[in-house]
Symmetry: C2
Subunit: 335 residues, 2 copies
């Protein structure tokens, strides 16, 4: 099936009008629709429109409370703790990053944790949000158990996506990555193509590394990045975020039937408030120029995280946002 | 060669007496010697005594200034920036973490960056330092270029070690890892044994993954954890730490003849100051119990970061600290 292109504003308006039927107030419907649409706009439909039907289903099942707003659980200088009250994950995350930005803009550093929230969909959105306000940003979330511990043969760790974002006048950088080498969604696409993964992507039933997508999907044994290192990092990020938010850990989330009530962490830095009055565009330029000058194995130069996003975004704004036609049809028909 | 065991206090005293000859004042000689000794005490001689001769050599070459103390470059609420003045890296890092602890204990969150500092030797020391004061701790450093970008054929990225530490009454956790899958030191040990690495550890001259230690060492093509993911993470951590410290980036460090004047980041959280008055030992216990209950491929249960450190430390305190006899002899003879 070939993708179709929908004008960005039409996409936002269509999703907004659907969300209004799901008990969202106009302002939150618009924000939620915008966050879904931005994922497709930036070339990440897997965490955008493709998840919209599941998101609505979670509202129907009352796992996501469309009207719930986050509540402040405590404010401590540069640090705030929030309770997400099981509201829509992307709206909660957007507000959390907004608070981290606000704290950073007034105090130099701002840190926000939120418990009882839901899947934030595309985490990269919140990195771009920090960048648009001139802040360096970090955020990460825990998830249900979906990776094995090192040497383990059942999922005990979350793939706990982490986002790091750095503003730059021409080349802002956003790294948006889960701690599994490949997502289950990506592994499924290889299974559908009946192809092996390009790199080791998980474990077989004997604990050996494998590129076989069917094997990995059947036993939920996706590979943590860096083998034991990513497994350790996943555990530590889960503990940090669940302890600092006073919220659920990956273990707690795994006891539920569905992935909900997750814990998230957001942090921003604003340079003028830590005595760096001229933004170091030049320093970042030098690093990127050096990186791009690297001798490479392919014909193309090496890339940095987020390198193509702005041009892709501009292109999609001009020619329409690519959407999966089946998803789009099902959204128009069913909701 | 078999290792020998030296009583911990004898080790500290011996190193202290040497450092006194290298222009350290008594207090700083003792701290520096303790930090070197603790690495061996906790089973990490590669970043302890094994580096002591190189450390002294860097003082001789005036790359490390034994007497230089860090200076405050600016203080902004929960955030401080410091200049390490090219002093001893482990002392500078210890003081930086001390400041982050102090800030966290008064404000809930504390963040310290330091520029113009030197290799901190064993980063895990500073994770344990946070734990001993009841703080969750994070620190990371940049390094000289020693890993390729994804698709690149020359070192452009640092392996930028990162440490995460979480206190617990019985099972404190410390993850201390570089962003390369294996250190060059570890790869060398396989070359010396004439053995292949157990997992892909770098790239060959055609850009393919390889387990051949000789190939990897000859072209400095160590593998970032998670392939493109660790490469991206390395770049982002380097930018964060060099921007937030107003210090050198991996690119800047690579322009020098020797790895010096690096940039580091330290952060702590103190729960009673963010409204969490009872330390969540129980929550962490549940996570660890679940993890340890994982079905596993080997005979042993899966492990968590730092699991064996306390028992190893106790054992080494009792029976003496293992040191490499050649290193020990050379230290006694030459310094």
């Amino acid at each position: 099936m070939s993708e179709i292109r929908i004008p960005y504003q039409e996409l936002v308006d269509q999703l907004t009008s659907i969300l209004l039927k799901y008990d969202f107030c106009p302002e939150r419907a618009s924000l939620c629709a915008t966050l879904f649409s931005k994922a497709n706009l930036d070339g990440v439909p897997s965490h955008g429109l493709n998840r919209f039907p599941i998101f609505l289903e979670m509202i129907n099942q009352k796992l996501v409370d469309a009207q719930a707003e986050p509540e402040l659980a405590g404010s401590f200088g540069s640090f705030e703790r929030w309770d997400g009250n099981l509201g829509p994950g992307n709206i909660n995350a957007h507000q959390s990053m907004d608070r981290a930005i606000h704290l950073a803009k007034t105090k130099g550093i701002g840190c926000v944790t939120i418990k009882n929230t839901n899947h934030w969909m595309r985490g990269g959105n919140f990195g771009w949000q920090a960048i648009e306000k001139g802040c360096l940003g970090i955020c990460f979330t825990n998830t249900k158990p979906n990776m094995p511990a090192w040497g383990g043969k059942e999922p005990k760790l979350g793939n706990n996506p982490i986002i790091l974002a750095i503003p730059h006048k021409h080349n802002p950088l956003v790294l948006d990555m889960a701690l599994s080498q490949f997502s289950y969604g990506k592994i499924s696409t290889y299974l559908n193509k009946q192809e092996a993964m390009p790199y080791d992507a998980g474990f077989d039933l004997s604990g050996n590394l494998t590129k076989n997508p069917e094997t990995i999907l059947s036993n939920e044994m996706a590979l943590p990045i860096g083998l034991w290192k990513g497994a350790g990092l996943s555990l530590m990020l889960d503990m940090f975020v669940s302890v600092l938010s006073d919220g659920n850990s990956t273990f707690d989330i795994g006891k539920q039937k569905t992935e909900t009530a997750v814990s998230q962490f957001f942090m921003c830095f604003y340079l003028p408030k830590i005595g760096i009055t001229t933004y170091p565009d030049d320093k970042i330029d030098l690093i990127l120029q050096d990186l791009k000058s690297s001798a490479s194995f392919g014909k193309k130069s090496v890339r940095f995280p987020g390198e193509n996003t702005l041009s892709l975004r501009m292109n999609n704004q001009k020619y329409g946002v690519p959407v999966d036609p089946d998803i789009w049809e099902s959204i128009l028909k069913n909701y």
